[in-house]
C-alpha cells in the first residue's frame, strides 16, 4: 500500500525527530539515570560532597551486584546537578537533568528552600522526586510525583519533645519551658510545632520568642527567660545565634534542667568547637547517628565501609540521600519497563519492613508513602552532646545500651 519512497521518508522523519529530541533512546534499555540535585560548590558544598560520596558507593554496589534484575541487569548512572545552595539554580539544574539528561528519577535537594521549588519542576515534568529536606509543605501540595521517606519538621519536633519528656521523667520531670527561635520561616514553623507538642505533654510554655536572626546581642531575651525560671530551654537557631545564646545563657547564669535544640546550629561540628564545655548535655533531634549500628549490625558494617573509603561516617543528610536511592532501587526492581510513570507507581506502592533492607539505613517500622507522598512511619532520633560527641538516647528501641543521661544541663544545682 505504501510506496517504498514514503516508507523511506517516514523513517527519515523519525530519525530526524529523534535527533532533535537528543534522545539517547538506544541506551535507555540498559541504563537507569538518576538525577541528584545537591550543593556541590558554594557555602554548603561540604554537605553536597558527602551526599555524592554516599550515593557513589551505593551506585557501585548495585551495579557491581548485577544492576537492576527486573530490567535485565540495567546499570544505574548518577547524573549530578549542582545547586550551589541556591533555589533558582536548583530549579534550572532540575530542568536540565530532566530535559537534557533524560533522568528517570531525581533525589534532592538538601536545603528545603531549594527542594521546594525544584520538586515542583519534577512534578510538572512527571518525573519521580525523592526528597531530602524536612520542610513539611514539600509533600503537602497535592503532588503525585514527590515522595519523602524520612521525617518532616513536624515529626522531628514530635520526636524531640517526646524524647525530652521521656528523658525528663528519668531526670526529675519537666514542668515549664521557654522556646527561643530565630525569626525566619524555619524557626517560626518549628517553634510553633514544639509549643503544640509541649503543651500536649502537659509542659507549660512560658513564652515563645522569635528573635531577629544574626542579632549582635540577646542578653535581654536571656534575662527575660531567666525571670520565668523554666526547666527547659528549647532553641531553634542557626550556628551564629546558637553560639551567642549558649554563651549568653552561661554569662547570665541561666541553667535550666534541660537545654534542647530543634537542630540547626547546635548539632554542627563548628558549634561543638565554639561552645566548648558549654555544649555538654545539649539535647537535640537528628535523623541519623552512627550509634544506630550498635543495635543493627549491618548498619555498623555499612558505616565502617563508608569511613574506610571517605574518612568520615554518614551524616543525617548523606544517609537520607542513600535511603532515597535505595527506595528508588527497590521500586525499579518491581517494574517491568523503564518509564517515569511506571516508576512513580512502583514508588507509590513501596512497602519495606525488613530492617536489613538497605533503605533502612535510617530504620523505621516501615517505609511506605501515604497519599501526600510522606512516609507516615518516619521518626527521628534524640541525641545528647557528651564530651564533644553525640550519644543516642531515644527512642529506647535504638538507644545506645551503655549511654548515660547528663542531667541537669551543666550539672549545676538549681
Amino acid at each position: 500500500m505504501c510506496s517504498p519512497r514514503l516508507v523511506r521518508r517516514l523513517v527519515m522523519l523519525v530519525v530526524v525527530l529523534a535527533g532533535f529530541a537528543g534522545v539517547p533512546s538506544a541506551q535507555a534499555a540498559d541504563e537507569v539515570r538518576i538525577g541528584v540535585v545537591c550543593p556541590l560548590t558554594g557555602p554548603t558544598a561540604k554537605f553536597g560532597q558527602a551526599q555524592r560520596n554516599a550515593l557513589t558507593m551505593a551506585m557501585e554496589d548495585v551495579n557491581g551486584a548485577g544492576g537492576i534484575k527486573s530490567l535485565g541487569g540495567a546499570k544505574i548512572k548518577l547524573v549530578f546537578g549542582d545547586t550551589r545552595g541556591e533555589a533558582d539554580i536548583g530549579v534550572t539544574e532540575t530542568e536540565r537533568l530532566i530535559t537534557r539528561e533524560k533522568v528517570h528519577a531525581l533525589i534532592g535537594a538538601f536545603q528545603s528552600g531549594v527542594g521546594f521549588p525544584s520538586s515542583a519542576v519534577a512534578e510538572r515534568h512527571q518525573v519521580p522526586w525523592l526528597t531530602f529536606g524536612t520542610f513539611d509543605k514539600i509533600t503537602e501540595r497535592g503532588f503525585k510525583y514527590v515522595f519523602r521517606a524520612h521525617a518532616n519538621d513536624t515529626m522531628k519536633a514530635r520526636t524531640l519533645i517526646e524524647g525530652l519528656v521521656a528523658l525528663g521523667s528519668r531526670g526529675g520531670g519537666l514542668k515549664s519551658a521557654v522556646i527561643m527561635a530565630e525569626n525566619t520561616e524555619w524557626g517560626k514553623s518549628v517553634s510553633d510545632k514544639q509549643r503544640g507538642f509541649l503543651e500536649k505533654a502537659g509542659v507549660k510554655v512560658h513564652f515563645v520568642e522569635n528573635y531577629p536572626f544574626a542579632a549582635p546581642d540577646l542578653t535581654s531575651l536571656i534575662v527575660k527567660a531567666k525571670g520565668t525560671n523554666p526547666d527547659l530551654i528549647v532553641a531553634d537557631s542557626y550556628l551564629g545565634d546558637a553560639l551567642l545564646i549558649t554563651r549568653q545563657m552561661h554569662e547570665q547564669e541561666l541553667r535550666p534542667a534541660a537545654y534542647a535544640a530543634g537542630g540547626g546550629g547546635h548539632v554542627q561540628p563548628d558549634f561543638l568547637k565554639g561552645a566548648g564545655k558549654l555544649s555538654e548535655g545539649i539535647i537535640a533531634a537528628t535523623m541519623w547517628d552512627a550509634a544506630i549500628g550498635k543495635r543493627v549490625p549491618w548498619i555498623a558494617k555499612e558505616n565502617e565501609r563508608h569511613v574506610a573509603r571517605f574518612g568520615v561516617p554518614y551524616t543525617e543528610d548523606s544517609a537520607g540521600f542513600y535511603q532515597a536511592f535505595y527506595v528508588i532501587v527497590d521500586a525499579l526492581e518491581r517494574t517491568k519497563t523503564l518509564g517515569t510513570k511506571e516508576l512513580r507507581d512502583a514508588i507509590a506502592a513501596t512497602s519495606i519492613t525488613d530492617v536489613n533492607h538497605k533503605a533502612m539505613l535510617i530504620p523505621y517500622k516501615q517505609i511506605k508513602f501515604d497519599e501526600t507522598g510522606q512516609n507516615p512511619f518516619a521518626t527521628a532520633l534524640v541525641v545528647q552532646t557528651q564530651g564533644g560527641k553525640f550519644r543516642l538516647l531515644y527512642p529506647e528501641s535504638v538507644a545506645e545500651p551503655d549511654a548515660k543521661l547528663v542531667w541537669p544541663y551543666l550539672g549545676t544545682p538549681r
Binding site: P43, T44, N183, E209, N210, Y211, P212, A214, A215, P216, D217, L218, T219, S220, L221, V223, K224, K226, G227, L239, G240, L243, L244, R247, H250, E251, Q252, E253, G265, D270, F271, K273, G274, G276, L278
Partner: protein, 292 residues
C-alpha cells in the same frame, strides 16, 4: 527590677561596642559626607585578621590591634586612593552618589572574597576572658564587653584630643565643615580624605579586637552591625564624636529594655521610630551642629 537593671547594664555594654564601630563610620561620614557601606566589611576583615593571628600565631585578640590597626590603615588608604578618590574628584559639584555605590560594591567584594577564602564556617576564639563575668549588686557584668566599653571611651577621648589639639585633626574637621574654605586655607583635601578613610578603617581593628573574644567570626557579620551603626551616627550627630558615643549607648539601652519588656524584634521598630523622631526634631542629631 533586677531584670530591668540587668537589661540596662547589658544594653550599655553592647552599646559601647556599637559606639566604637560608629566612631569609625562617623569620621568618614563627617569628613566626606558619604556613608561608607564598606565599614561593616572592614570590621569583618579586622576580625578575620585577629582570628588568624590567634589561630596561627597564638596572639591574644587584645594584642591584635598592634598588627591589625596599621594593616587596616594601609588597606583603608589604598581603597580611598584607588576607588573612592577618583570618583569624588569627578563628582565634585554634586552629592557624591556614585561613591556611595562604590563603597557598597567594596563591601560585597570583601564579603565574597572572605566567603571564597575562609568559607562560610563560623569561627570562634576561646580565650580566658571569653566567658568571664563578675557581679556588682546582683548585676552580672561581662568582662569582654566591659573591655569593649573601656576601649570605646579611650578611643573617643583619643579622637577628641586628636581632632581638637592637633593640626592634622583640625584640618580633618575643617575639611568636613567646608571643603572649599579649607582648600583656600591651604589644606590638601584629597590627602585629608585619604587619611580620614584610613583612620576610620584602622578603628575597625580596635573594634575587631574587642569583639573577637566573645563573638563569632563570619564573612556576613558586617551587615549585622552596619544598619544599627548608621542609625547611631545620624542619631548622635554627623561628625560629632561624643554624639556617636552617646548614640551607641542609647541604642544599646533601648534594645535591652524593649527586648526585655516586649521582644527583641520589636526593639528594631522602636529604634527606627526614635530615629525618625530625632530627625524631625533635631535634624543635625543629638549633639550635631546645625549647618547653614
Amino acid at each position: 527590677m533586677r531584670s530591668f537593671w540587668q537589661a540596662t547594664v547589658s544594653g550599655l555594654l553592647i552599646g559601647g561596642i556599637y559606639a566604637l564601630i560608629a566612631l569609625g563610620l562617623n569620621i568618614v561620614f563627617g569628613t566626606m559626607r558619604v556613608v561608607n557601606f564598606a565599614q561593616g566589611a572592614l570590621l569583618m576583615a579586622g576580625m578575620f585578621m585577629a582570628y588568624w593571628l590567634w589561630e596561627l600565631g597564638g596572639v591574644h585578640p587584645y594584642l591584635s590591634p598592634l598588627v591589625t590597626v596599621p594593616l587596616l590603615f594601609g588597606l583603608g588608604y589604598l581603597i580611598q586612593r584607588a576607588c573612592v578618590s577618583p570618583l569624588l574628584a569627578r563628582e565634585r559639584a554634586r552629592e557624591p552618589m556614585s561613591v556611595l555605590l562604590v563603597t557598597l560594591g567594596l563591601a560585597l567584594v570583601l564579603e565574597n572574597a572572605a566567603l571564597l577564602f575562609f568559607s562560610a564556617d563560623f569561627k570562634t576564639v576561646q580565650t580566658d576572658v571569653s566567658l568571664a563575668t563578675f557581679k556588682v549588686g546582683g548585676i552580672i557584668v561581662s568582662v569582654p564587653r566591659l573591655v569593649g566599653m573601656g576601649a570605646m571611651i579611650a578611643t573617643c577621648l583619643g579622637l577628641y584630643l586628636f581632632f581638637t589639639r592637633t593640626d592634622l585633626g583640625r584640618a580633618v574637621r575643617a575639611t568636613g565643615q567646608d571643603r572649599e574654605v579649607a582648600r583656600l586655607m591651604g589644606i590638601d583635601d584629597a590627602r585629608i580624605y585619604g587619611f580620614a578613610y584610613a583612620l576610620s578603617a584602622a578603628l575597625m581593628g580596635v573594634a575587631a579586637a574587642v569583639l573577637v573574644p566573645f563573638f563569632y567570626v563570619h564573612p556576613a557579620l558586617g551587615t549585622s552591625f552596619l544598619l544599627k551603626v548608621f542609625v547611631i551616627v545620624v542619631l548622635g550627630g554627623i561628625g560629632s564624636m561624643p554624639g556617636a558615643a552617646l548614640g551607641g549607648l542609647i541604642v544599646g539601652v533601648v534594645e535591652g529594655i524593649v527586648g526585655l519588656y516586649i521582644q527583641a524584634s520589636a526593639a528594631q521598630i522602636v529604634l527606627f521610630a526614635v530615629f525618625i523622631g530625632v530627625l524631625f526634631l533635631r535634624p543635625a542629631g543629638l549633639l550635631g551642629v546645625e549647618r547653614q
